[in-house]
């Protein structure tokens, strides 16, 4: 049974459907990503899962329970890091950790957790005096302190420096290795690609695609990009006849093709047949970035359509 089930979720603000029929299921033990541009409805969706917002329609179940009606039971197994929140300015890091640990029946030991998140030196510092990154790390600690079965992290590494971001990714991988299911909202492609088993791409309140990172890349047009400077001109008709070709571009004598592995093979055969040497030949796999833009950006869709 999935630990999180969202079925046809809808939420409307001021007559505008901000979440418009979102469905997905998160399996136990996976890291599930929600990726999407700003304003796509990601936060609204996960806050319905956390029981902070009440859906206008649709069904949300966390370990089979309704997060609004059964709030206390869901809150015991679900740890949350909100996109935006604060603590009392004069509360120290240690007091915050102790306080939040006291809310749960079987909390983690807060000292190693704080150490792990690089807060060991800051235990006596007041929340109001922490830097943005330190606040963020404290909120990650508070999401984990209750020893939850599920953690929901909204914009996990926003505000963190590259070093802390990588440390946090390792932490999340360890957390998952301990059997915790992770629901991760992000707009960092690198983060999604590195951490997520599956990703739901949300755009304008709808699920635009749901697949593994590799699957998303594979299904985007032009998953592989081949570029080279030919030693002699190549006939355009030959290029356009290449199998599974998505696009051709000429610039300063250099040719850039987008396609698949099959396109790569065909272009090499083509060049060999005409005894043309490909200088500075590069074959690059498209990234999640490309796939994401392909899935969410209307302009590229229209341009390639």
């Amino acid at each position: 049974m999935p630990v999180i089930e969202v079925t046809d979720l809808r939420k409307t603000y001021g007559g505008r459907a901000v979440v418009d029929g979102v469905s997905f299921a998160v399996e136990e033990g996976e890291i599930f990503g929600i990726l999407g541009p700003n304003g796509a409805g990601k936060t609204t969706t996960v806050e319905c899962i956390e029981g902070l917002r009440v859906p206008d329609a649709g069904r949300v179940r966390v370990t089979g329970l309704d997060p609004v009606a059964d709030h206390a039971r869901v809150a015991r197994v679900l740890g949350a890091q909100l996109q935006e929140s604060e603590l009392q300015a004069k509360l120290t890091v240690r007091e915050a950790l102790e306080l939040y640990a006291s809310f749960y029946p079987d909390p983690l030991d807060w000292a190693p957790l704080a150490e792990r998140l690089g807060l060991g030196e800051k235990l006596s510092a007041r929340f109001g005096k922490l830097s943005g990154g330190q606040k963020q790390r404290l909120f990650i600690a508070l999401a984990l302190i209750g020893n939850p079965r599920i953690v929901v992290l909204d914009e996990l590494t926003t505000g963190l420096d590259p070093r802390a971001r990588r440390d946090t990714w390792e932490l999340i991988e360890d957390v998952r290795a301990g059997g915790v299911t992770v629901l991760l909202v992000t707009h960092f492609m690198e983060e999604a690609q590195r951490l997520c088993d599956r990703i739901a791409v949300i755009d304008k309140g709808r699920v635009a695609a749901l697949d593994s990172p590799a699957g998303l890349i594979r299904r985007s047009a032009g998953a592989t990009v081949i570029s080279f400077t030919p030693s002699a001109p190549v006939d355009d008709r030959d290029l356009n006849a290449l199998p599974e070709l998505a696009s051709v571009e000429h610039r300063d004598g250099r040719i850039t093709l987008a396609g698949t592995d099959e396109t790569v093979n065909a272009v090499i055969t083509l060049l060999a047949r005409h005894r043309i040497t490909a200088h500075q030949l590069r074959v690059v796999d498209a990234t999640l970035d490309d796939a994401f833009l392909d899935l969410t950006d209307d302009r590229t869709k229209e341009a390639t359509a």
Binding site: E50, G51, L52, H71, A72, A75, R76, L78, G79, A80, L82, E84, S85, E86, L87, Q88, K90, L91, E95, E98, L99, Y100, S102, F103, Y104, F139, L142, G146
Partner: protein, 244 residues
């Protein structure tokens, strides 16, 4: 109610020197200043033979409640809501209501401590008699605290931001102080004015405290006025309070 949340809020209250001063110390300080004026220590006919300093004890007692309930608590609560502190707590098994009740206990107890300090210092420095009808006095005191907290909750419910809470708090603050008798003790008010003021929460509280101080059971009328206010204000606050 969560004891861990309460303990935290008590700790945080002690870290607010402003709140500690205005709620806990200022009323007593005001009493000391007034008592240092020689004429205020003489018996006055228009106060029914009491000294001005005697008449100001209940005023100082109510002052701590007004500052705590009407100014400090709405600021704290709207700030907690505005900054998402209530929301963060709403994702835990302890609901944000725990934070509201802890705040009420903190400000309620602080104003009772402030009242006690006024009574003790008044007794020790100016020989103000302790209330003769002790139980009646305590009852009036508790009802007054509850009314102040209910009024503060309503201000918190109606204010979207701390700025609005500050503005509403100040707007209600001066009439509340007037009714409590800061400018003119209720005993010295003209008959009609005193009657009108007696229908306000702090006017009724001041009169009930005066009666109990003099050794009478505080009039059921005054206590009834307080109870009605508590119910009305609490009902309105519950109806309009927003968690975010």
């Amino acid at each position: 109610m969560s004891t861990a949340v309460l303990r935290t809020e008590v700790r945080l209250f002690r870290r607010e020197p402003g709140a500690v001063f205005w709620i806990l110390l200022f009323p007593t300080l005001l009493l000391l200043i007034l008592g240092s004026i020689p004429s205020f220590r003489q018996h006055q006919d228009d106060l029914g033979g009491l000294r001005t300093i005697d008449a100001y004890v209940p005023v100082a007692v109510l002052l701590g409640m007004i500052v705590g309930g009407l100014q400090a608590m709405p600021q704290a609560l709207t700030g907690y809501r505005e900054r998402g502190i209530l929301r963060r707590m709403a994702t835990t098994p302890v609901r944000p209501g725990a934070l509201l009740s802890a705040q009420m206990v903190v400000f309620g107890v602080a104003s009772l401590v402030s009242a006690l300090l006024v009574l003790v210092v008044g007794r020790l420095t100016f020989d103000v008699r302790l209330p003769k009808q002790g139980f009646g006095y305590l009852l009036a005191l508790v009802l007054a605290v509850l009314a102040a907290l209910a009024l503060g909750s309503l201000v918190s419910a109606l204010s979207r931001t701390t700025k609005i809470a500050g503005a509403i708090g100040s707007a209600v603050f001066f009439p509340a102080m007037f009714c409590a008798g800061v400018w003119l003790p209720v005993q010295a008010m003209p008959h009609l004015l005193g009657k009108i003021v007696g229908y306000t929460p702090f006017g009724a509280a001041a009169q009930a405290l005066n009666q109990a101080a003099a050794g009478h059971w505080p009039g059921w009328g005054h206590l009834g006025v307080l109870v009605v206010w508590i119910l009305l204000l609490t009902g309105a606050a519950t109806r309009w309070f927003r968690w975010e």
